[in-house]
């Protein structure tokens, strides 16, 4: 922390209006097994310092992996030089006021019962083996099984010109099983199941998250895909599961709420605070400190600008209420800072990003949701998605069911949903009571070249009218 404080002092001496300095020392370990072969046993160390200098409304960023005073000073000089050079080009000034210092405490680090660093590689390979063995038992015509285990933990330190002192440990674990099976015709289908987030090793003893649970669902899901029909193309009523609802919240609404898109007016949510865009069943929030024990997710008590995080509701029963901010965008847009300024690695400048993003639950059971759906597509899990600046989105579900009169009739594959989020939110007709957040080590969010940033996403199941599904005509 002394080194960071010296960096801040030096930046101020150079003439910066405000300086932020952060250090991270992270360990990332992962194992990958493909069929019988242990392909990658990895132990990464990520350690370095990043410095932001603010000057007359502009900012500059630099970083170094070196711990030497000389290299750190050079990083501060580069950051200030860029900040100064950028001033003539800055027309949206994102400076902010000093505030009382923020001080972390021990309770800011999420307590785990079994820290993964105290478990041997053999215990971790054993988790992977158990998942894969169970997948084999429950699958059919399997051509490839992949098992992955990952863990991330380490120290994040931060100080700034407010003289905040923040010191906490970031923790994530993840277990994944991916099954590829071959149909009689020789076509390949797949399914993936996982469990992860901020948790200790004890997560994998919890009901629903054991290696056997993961392997069973992965194997059974791939087996179901063997007889799945291609999803028809067209507009249908949809029931989306918790993870896909989370993808919707993250990709198509969350990104548009990130305030760097708002201040530049490139988001269609610019100037829309107080506007009703969605139905009363559509409430979307972002939260760095969710109830991890009950719902899962990633624990992020502070962002990389030293702001405490919490729950920010961006859409409240269909009305736009708040954006996701850095300190500068919060001041510019006259809202509270939300603790959403993050970077994937010390080599990158923190920018507005999400933490755990979700739809809030409603009051339906799954049966009631299927009944409300009537006839349409039940889309399950997510293979990822993409959104454009005008709100257009595309998501790929991992699987699905064709539902008729509230009954699942047959499995579907290649389930892709597309549309415009601003239209879709008004067609959310109901949400279930069950609620979960998915987070983990593998994958993550990408933005401005910063990938993969660990994020959580989730929600209840949602019934949505008139969703466009791509597929064979």
């Amino acid at each position: 922390m002394d080194t960071l404080e010296k960096a801040v002092d030096f930046g101020e001496k150079l003439g910066a209006d405000f300086v932020e300095a952060r250090f991270e020392d992270l360990t990332l370990r992962s194992l990958q097994k493909i069929n019988e072969n242990w392909k990658d046993i990895t132990a990464k160390t990520r350690s370095g310092i990043g410095v932001v200098c603010y000057y007359k409304g502009g900012s500059g960023y630099s970083f170094t992996a070196s711990k030497s005073d000389k290299d750190i000073q050079e990083a501060v000089e580069r950051a200030f030089k860029i900040a100064k050079a950028s001033v003539p080009a800055v027309s949206i000034k994102l400076g902010f006021d000093n505030q009382p210092p923020v001080k972390s405490t021990g309770s800011d680090t999420f307590t785990v019962k079994e820290h993964p660093k105290h478990h041997s590689i053999d215990e971790k390979t054993e988790l992977v083996n158990r998942a894969m063995d169970t997948a084999k038992e429950h699958g059919e015509n399997i051509s490839t099984i992949t098992g992955l285990y990952g863990e991330l933990y380490g120290t994040k330190l931060f100080t700034n010109s407010d003289r905040s002192i923040i010191d906490w440990e970031f923790r994530v674990v993840d277990l994944v099983c991916y099954v590829v099976s071959k149909t009689k015709e020789g076509n390949m289908v797949n399914n993936l199941e996982r469990s992860g987030g901020t948790a200790g090793f004890e997560l994998f003893s919890k009901e629903g998250s054991t290696p056997e649970d993961i392997g069973r669902k992965a194997g059974k899901g791939a087996k179901a895909q063997l007889v799945a029909r291609a999803c028809p193309a067209g507009q249908f009523r949809a029931l989306v599961d918790n993870v896909l609802a989370g993808t919707l919240a993250h990709e198509s609404f969350g990104h548009l709420s990130e305030a760097d898109f708002i201040v530049t007016s490139s988001s269609p949510l610019t100037g829309k605070i107080g506007t009703k865009l969605g139905s009363e069943h559509a409430t979307i929030a972002d939260n760095g400190v969710p109830d991890i024990e009950k719902h899962g997710g990633i624990w992020l008590p502070f962002d990389d600008q030293g702001t405490r995080s919490g729950e920010t509701t961006m859409l409240d029963k269909g009305t736009v209420t708040h954006y996701l901010h850095s300190r500068g965008t919060a001041k510019y847009l006259k809202q509270k800072p939300t603790g959403n300024c993050r970077a994937v690695h010390f080599g990158f400048m923190p920018i507005p990003r999400m933490t755990n993003t979700y739809f809030k639950p409603g009051d339906l059971t799954e049966e009631e949701a299927l009944e409300l759906l009537g006839t349409g597509v039940y889309a399950i899990e997510s293979q990822g998605g993409q959104v454009q600046g005008d709100g257009s989105f595309l998501f790929k579900a991992r699987s699905g069911y064709w539902v008729e009169n509230g009954e699942k009739k047959y499995p579907l594959r290649e389930v892709s949903l597309s549309g415009n989020i601003l239209d879709l939110l008004g067609r959310v007709e109901g949400a279930t009571k069950d609620f979960k957040i998915r987070g983990g080590y593998f994958g993550g969010c990408g933005k401005s070249g910063q990938y993969p940033l660990p994020t959580g996403l989730g929600g209840p199941k949602l019934v949505i009218d008139s969703v466009t599904f791509g597929g064979k005509a």
Binding site: K39, S47, G58, I121, D122, T264, Q383, S418, S448
Partner: protein, 461 residues
Amino acid sequence: MEYDSVKEEMLSRIDTALKYAKSVDKNAECEIYLLYINSCNVRIQDGVVTADDGIKAGTAVRVAKGKKVSFAPSSGIELDSIKKSIQEATAIVQKLSVEDPRFDSFCPPSGAGKEGVFCSDILDVDSAYLIKAADNMISEAKSVDKRIKSVTASCSAGWTGFAVGNSTGLQQASRIAVNSCNVYCQARVGEERRQAGEYDISRERIFQHENLPTEAANKALSFLGAKKLDKTEVMPTIWNNEASASYILAGLGQAVRGNNVVEGLSPLADKIGDEIANPILSIVDDGQDATSIQTHAIDAEGHAKQKIPILEKGVLKNYLFDHYYAKIFGAESTGSSSRGGAFSSTLPYEDTATVGLSTFNVKSGNKSEEELLEEVDQGIYIYDSPMGIYHTSVETGEFSVVCPQVYLIERGEKTPIQPVSVAGKFYEGLENLRAIAKNIKKTPYAVNTPTIAFDGFSVVG
């Protein structure tokens, strides 16, 4: 470090570190990869400037003892960091009880290819130049039309050096200097928003940003007033350079990677010698294309990079391999080991080496793009990489994407339409390819390609 001396300095550290690795465990083999990126990146979005200037450097060490292999990357390339990684990786293999029965050895020496073109002017590009260039692009774009409401301009310049050494005696290095600019314009009328972008990326000269903003702005404006297609049917689709580059990269590009072939994920396994595409399609993966930004003297495990035919007149000729997967398959490495890239993290040294493309060069057709469009009674023209194309899985080959920038084509007449979904199978598409234009363009997707027209995809709009 300096550009002129980076290779020698890194190779010297590798030499010292390999000796250290032997002292830690004389029965273990070791591979060391060092990466040094010195870059400056500027982005201006409507008056908000984000800029960084710094050095990303890292070490990636693999240690193997018999069939037990570990991987330990870390930040920095000081000798202390390298030694720490060696200690970490060695400690892991010494404790491991699981192994990779297919592991043979680290890559043996194979010499080196050519680094490619170097332009020393790129080394002199600094943050002030980049900020000015980005600012000029914003001004140019905004001056085109008052309906251009949002402009994002990015410029970057830098150089990279990397070096690889291992216990087989391989010690090689390579370096490159690259600069680039891109600009995205959003046109708005009421609630309608349409966007388009242009770019220039080069290792041969300083990027040329003039006129790109005007082209991007006019393209964005051309999509305004788009009507709904109101159809769901199978129809011809014409994919412009960037769109067809993404099609090839996401489909064929993944299916010919040796890791996907060996692991049973590629539907093109056992298809060498088969006609898998229209005979008008020929593609070469050229790791020695002197002007490509993917060209280096060596790949990520130190093997010489090469030029490899992938498709010749529709016939599948080769897969791409690194040393590991080549050995399993019973072939030779094609110099296709890579770290990082489009589907990986932003710190290449943190990724294990796997198989990647160099530059796919698609052979030009003999018609202009306009001629291709005139031959279509009714179809769609896709401008830019569709949404979701990289979320497809190589094993199924099925894709369903959304094309936000798209025109209806009727005998050469272009009418902007609202975003449409396009669905089909990558591999069937190669067989149903109807025409290739002659407007080859270098795209940022490691694929240099003309516009390509396909039959047989479903369009929903």
